[in-house]
Amino acid sequence: MKIIILGAGQVGGSLAENLASEANDITVVDKDLSRLRELQDRLDIRTVHGPASYPSTLREAGADDADMLIAVTNSDEVNMVACQVAQTLFKTPTKISRVRAGSYLNKKALFSPDAFPVDVLISPEQTVTQYISRLIDNPGALQVLEFSDGLVRLVGIKAVTGGPLVGQELAYLRQHLPHVDTRVAAIYRKNRALIPQGDTVIEEGDEIFFIAASKHIRNVMSELQPRDKPYKRILIAGGGNIGFHLAQQLEDRYHVKLIERNHERCVELSETLNRAIVLQGNAADKDLLQEENIEDTDVFCAVTNDDEANIMASLLAKRLGVRKVMTLINNPNYVDLIHGGEIDIAISPQQTTIGSLLTHIRRGDIVNVHSLRRGAAEAIEAIAHGDQRSSKVIGRRLDEITLPEGTTIGAIVRGGEVLIAHDHLRIQADDHVILFIVNRRHISDVEKLFQVGLTFF
C-alpha cells in the first residue's frame, strides 16, 4: 500500500516505523529537515521536505497514486486542509486526520464528505482518556483493550503472590473457575513471550494477557492477584484536555480531585465540572498533596503535557503513599525506562493512537487493532468473510487452522454472543475473530488468512 504520512513528529515517526517494515511504501512529509533525515537514516522510507498541506508538496510526495493519507502534523488546520487538498486535487481514497481541538470535534458536520473530507478522525486525547478510564474501572490491570463494542476484553495483568493461580499450572484455572470461560493469550516472563500451554506454570511477576467476556474480567483477575479493592478516590494532575475529559467521565462514579496550575483554567474547569474538586497548585507540591490526603488516595493520574513533570509528580505521590500511579509519557524512550518500576502504569499516547490508526491500514476486514508492548505485539479483531470455498478459515475447526508462529485465537463473537476459543469450535461466516499476535512480523500472514479468495467475487 502506498501511504503518505504528514508530520514526522512522535506519532508520525512511530507510525512510519510500524508500517515501513510491512511492505508498505511510505513517504513522510515534514517541514523539519533534521527530523526527516533522522527518520530516513533509520527506516526504508522516502521523505519530502515542505509544508504538508501545499498541493505541490503533496504532489511531490506522490499523492497522485497514493492509497492513503495520514495527516498527523501538530496543527489541526494543516491536517484538515491537507485532507481537503488530497480529496479535491488527487482523489486520494482514504484520508485519516488527527484533530485535537474540541471545538472542531464537537461539530460532526464539519467532517462530512462535502465539508472537510476526512474519512477517519483520530483524536489522541479522546483515545487516551478512554484508555485511562478503562484502567480505573479495572483495578489492577496494566492494560484493558476492548473488542466488539466492549463485549470482549483483553486484559494485561501482572501476577502477584496471593492470587490463587500464581504458582499453579494454567489448566488449574478451568477447575477453579468452572463457570468462567477465558483464554490466556500470551505470557511475558522477563520481557520474553511464552506461548501458554495447559501445563505452563504461572510465576510471580509474569505479565499475562487474557481474553474474556467483559463480565468475567474481574473473576479472572482475582485469580492472578489478591483481589484489589475497587478504586474510590482519584487525583488527577493536569487540567488540560485529557485531565478535563477524564474528570468529566469519572466524576459521577468516583471522588475526583483535579490539580491545575493555571488559575484561569481552574476557574474554567470548576465551572464545567459538577462534582469534581478543582485545586489550584503544583502537582509536585508535597504539602498540597498531603493536605489532600494523598496517602488515602487510590489512583494518582499525572496527565500534564510535560513528561518530566508527570514523572516527578508521580514518584512523589507514590512515595507519599498513593496506591497506584498512572503516568502519561510522550517520549517513547522514557516509557521503557519507567514502566513497571516505581510507576505502576506508564501510558504512551502514541501507542494508543497508533492502534486506532492501524485498524484502517490492515488489509482484510479488520475492525480493531491494538498495539501492545511498544508495538512488538498486536491484538486484532478480524471479520471472517466469504464461504467455505473462498475463505481459509470459515467452516474449519480452530485446531485445523494453521496460524503463524506465536499467534493465538482468543475469542469469537457471533451475533452478540462471546465464544471463548476452544479447539472444537468452527468459524462461521461473519464471525468476529479476536487474535493475539506475539510477533508483529507475522501480521501479514494473519491478514492473508482473513482475506477472501477470488471465488468470492
Partner: protein
Amino acid sequence: MRMAVIFRVLGTLLMLFSITMLPPIAVSLLYDDGHVRPFLAGFAIILVLGVVCWFPTRRIHKELRTRDGFFITVLIWTVLCLAGAIPLFLSEQPSLPLADAVFEAVSGLTTTGATVMTGIDELPQSILWYRQQLQWLGGMGIIVLAVAVLPMLGIGGMQLYRAEAPGPVKDNKLKPRITETAKALWYIYLGLTVLCTLAYWGAGMTPFDAIGHAFSTVSTGGFSTHDASLGYFNSPAIDLITILFMLAGAVGFALHFMALRQRNPRIYFRDPEFNFYLTVIGAISLITITILIATRQYDVPNAILNGVFEVVSIATSTGYMKADFSLWPLFLPFLLFVVSFMGGCVGSTAGGMKVMRVLLIYKQGMREVRRLIHPNAVVPVKLGQRLVPDRVLEAVWGFFSIYMFMFVVLLLILLATGLDQITAWSAVAACINNLGPGLGEVTSHFGNLSDTAKWVLSFAMLLGRLEVFTVLILLTPEFWRR
C-alpha cells in the same frame, strides 16, 4: 564496527560478482577463442572467497550504521577491483603483470577507461567482452545493483547507497523503498543500454561491437574493442549516436526517471543542472570548433563533428577517441581537461566533481559579488525554485578543496616517479575524474608507466569514483576510534 555484518555483506557481494564471470565464459565458448580457463578460475576463486566470508556470518543480522556504510563501500570496491583483476592476471593473452591487471580492472569498474593494453584488436573476444562488461557493471554502481537484487541489505542498503552514490544531495529517493529505487535506476540504465545497442547495430556495427560499445557508452566508461577507439568505425552516424548516449549517461538518472514517469521531455529543461550542463558543453564546443577551423585542422563539417564529439566525450568523462586531440593546439586539450573536472550531472554514471557542485560554487561566487554591490542585501543561493541550505554549500566547498588537494598530492607523487609535467598532470586528471586517456606519454595507453605510478593512479580512480570523502574518512584515526 560490526565486522561480522560487514563480512556477510562482502561475502554475498563476492558471490554475486562471481556470476559476472559467466558471460565471458559464454562469449569465449561462442567464439571458441580458448580463453575459458582464466574466467573459470576467476569464477571459482571469487565464489569460494565469497562463501568463506559469508558462511560463518550468514545468520548475523544487525543494522548497518552510517560509518559501516563507508567502510563496506570502500572495502567492496577495493575487493571487487582486485577480484576483477583475477581473470586478466591469469590469462595468457594478454599476459599482464599484477599492477597492470589491477589497473585495468580498476579502470573498468570505475568507468575510467584508461588502459594499459596495446594491440586490443588482437585480443580474444572473451577478454574484450569482459573489459566492456566491467565498465557497464561499474557505471550504475555495483552496490546499487546489489541493493536492487538483494533485498537482504534492507535499511543498511541506504547507508551503502549513500556512500556510493555521487553528488552533494543524496537523500533523494525516487521511490519510497530503497530496493525499488535501485531497481528503477537499473531499469533505466538497462533500457538506455539496449537502445544504444540497437542504434549502434543499426548504424553498422557488428552485434559484438554494438553491445560492447553500448556498455561503455552509457556507463561513460570509454573502453573500446579497437585500438583506434571510435575512430575505427569512421562513420558519422555512429559518432552522433555515441554523442547522444554519452550525454544520456551523464545526465542524472533521477531526471530520466521523472521525465519517463510523467512522459514529458520538457522536464529536462526545467532542471537547472541540466540546462547549465548543456550551456557549458555548447559554449566549449563552439570555442573548440572555432579554433579547429581557424587553425585549419579540419574542413568545416569534420571540425564540427570532431569538435563536438571530443568535447562531449571528455566532458562526460567517457574518453572515447575519434581524432587524436593531443595533436590539436595545446590550448584545446588543456581546455577539455579542465572541463573534465566538472564531469557529469549528479546521479549519473559520469565522473568528475559533478555539474551540480560546479554550478553551486559558481552561484556562491556570484552571491559574493552581489553582496559587495548591495552590502545589505539578503542573497540566497537557489537552484530553480529551491533554496540551497548553507550546509550543502559548505559541503560542496569542503569537497572542492579536498578534491583539489588530493589532485595536487597525487600530481606531486607522479612527478616524483619521474614523469614529465604534462604526462603527470593529465594522467592524474584523467584518473581522478574517471576520464580515461591523457596527454604526453599516456595519450593512447598507460602501459609505459612504472608500477608505482600505476598503483597510485589506480588509487586515484577509486578516489574519484567514490567521491574522495568516502575513501578519505577511512584514513582518519577518528573513524576507527570507538
